[in-house]
Amino acid sequence: MVSVRRSTVIDAPIAAVWEVLRDFNGHDRWHPAVDRSRVEGGGRSDRVGAVRDFVLTGGERLRERLLALSDKEHSFRYSIVESEIPLQNYVAEVSLKPVTDGDRTFWSWSSRFETPAGRERELAALVAEGVYEAGFEAIRDRVEGRGGTLPAPAVAPAGDAIEGLAMVIDRHGGPEELHPARVAATVPGPGQVRLRQTAIGVNFIDVYCRTGCFDLMTPPGALGMEAAGVVIDVGPSVRHLSPGQRVAYACPPVGAYATRRTMDAALVLPLPDGIDDETAAAGLLKGMTAEFLLHRVHRLQGGETVLVYAPAGGVGRLLCQWAKHLGATVIGATSSEAKARIARAAGADHVILPGRESLEAQVRALTGGRGAEVIYDAVGRDSFAHSVAALADCGHLVSFGQASGPIGAWDIGALASNSATISRPNFGHYTDTPEKVAAITGRLFEAIERRILSVEVGRRYPLTEAAAAHRALEGRETTASTILIPEEDSP
């Protein structure tokens, strides 16, 4: 058994050093020996048990499992699961301690391992100097503010703009306004990434952008807020993405209906292995919507009764699944027995269909006269008055869409009848910074991985048939999520 221990003092407060070291998936951003890092299965890097997959600058692969992580002790332990360098039974610990005398940080990095006979000394030196001491110097440069030795980005983009195809509108209007156009995906500049897109999500917000109901885009331009694909290349200073990596995004700026796209890399997320491109394109925006509707716009509590309109639709199914998991009683309101079956399968306890009794009467009958504490209503004009009437006292109506048309002017004095709260959230405001997106997608990916949510792809359309996809969505023909697939022969 070989034992290696190296330690140093970094002239920076412990919080600054720990902020960098604690990211088990972040060593490629500071350690000169690590070229690329990703967490297998796409989980969070602070999940104990996570396995990181390194490609070293020498080209070797290395897989390591996080055994323990402590924010209290500022330490983590990990083991090598698989390595092209013969380090066997390798267990290591990184530990920080505050030096109160001078507000500095003591950093210890140690390990025990076995090697093939005769290679103990060589491999101990590699670990001690090539990994630990080299890491000390890289962090020292980084947090002590000397700068200069961080590794260069993995890729220097070269060449010209790549031509692609996009579905654009020249003016606001109906689905017929969508037409194909040649567009150029420019060489990514600083902080940008260029993508080859493989699956594109279709969302009702795209309809609102097309009609001009939302002012997220001004024609002419491509529609679309969501896609998955593969990184072609990255611009300077982009460290979390590398060519060939599978990625996805769901956020403004609008322009996802395209085969190629250059955009702000900070908005683009590495995609977990367990989530394929179509699932990401079908579920990222809708799942993020469900996340902020259930956890941020309203913090859903177990025991609350929730009314979900369109419970068989893309967002609706996810709302039912997640609300049920959170312990709510879920009522779905839909238009057909076929959709009711989908809603029940997604976790709806009760499903309301149009009948002789009004929606509010049916909700009150199901809730002992109380009404629903929370209502998620994306129907709009046709449902709004019924929603207000179906609310419990002090209930919360979350109006997050208007599929049937604008709600129009409402006298808020009428809300005094049940002390209603009304929210009108806009996806853009919940997802306009990388920090917000990271928080939302962290919880979403976990929910997908834990199978709390299952994303279902409904219809697939060729990208050039985006207008047909819009017509189907607006015609209430669709269930689950609709996606667009760039044609094989499109550039």
Binding site: R5, S7, V9, T100, D101, G102, R104, F106, S108, F136
Partner: protein, 145 residues
């Protein structure tokens, strides 16, 4: 329970610093607050369970029992039996860790104790800055730091 943690860097290898601080009867050699020390019953100072009796430079008396001593970990743990400070259940650990980068030592001195809540801030400051940092400052002037 109040907790105090003070740490520093001493400019000599851990084995050299440890040779000085492992002597449970040796504080007058290096700690500025301690005037005299003796081990009760004439026990050797590295006998776990032995009791040291201090006379402080300000005239006070303290009795402390050695609870643990490790030449392997360079650490020493002790409890206060009697003192003028008004603390109860006081247990402290002084520990060194080698800093391989530059042959220095990382020194930690920590304690946990009970006291009346209104005295906690004052005692934490006195023990952390006075007793512990005072000792480290003395070691730093002796070994560099």
């Amino acid at each position: 329970m109040a907790e105090v943690y003070t740490s520093s860097v001493i400019g000599a290898p851990a084995e050299r610093v440890w040779a000085v601080i492992r002597d449970f009867n040796g504080l007058p050699e290096w700690h500025p607050a301690i005037a005299e020390s003796r081990i009760e019953g004439g026990a050797p100072p590295d006998q776990v369970g032995c009791v040291r009796a201090f006379r402080l430079k300000d005239g006070g008396h303290i009795r402390e029992r050695l609870l643990a001593l490790s030449d392997y970990d360079y650490s020493c743990t002790y409890a206060i039996l009697e003192s003028p400070m008004g603390v109860e259940n006081y247990v402290a650990t002084l520990k060194l860790t080698p800093i391989t980068d530059g042959g220095r030592s990382f020194a930690e001195w920590s304690a946990a104790f009970d006291c009346p809540p209104e005295r906690e801030a004052e005692l934490v400051a006195t023990i952390g800055q006075g007793v512990f940092q005072g000792g480290f400052d003395s070691l730093k002037s002796r070994f560099g730091g």
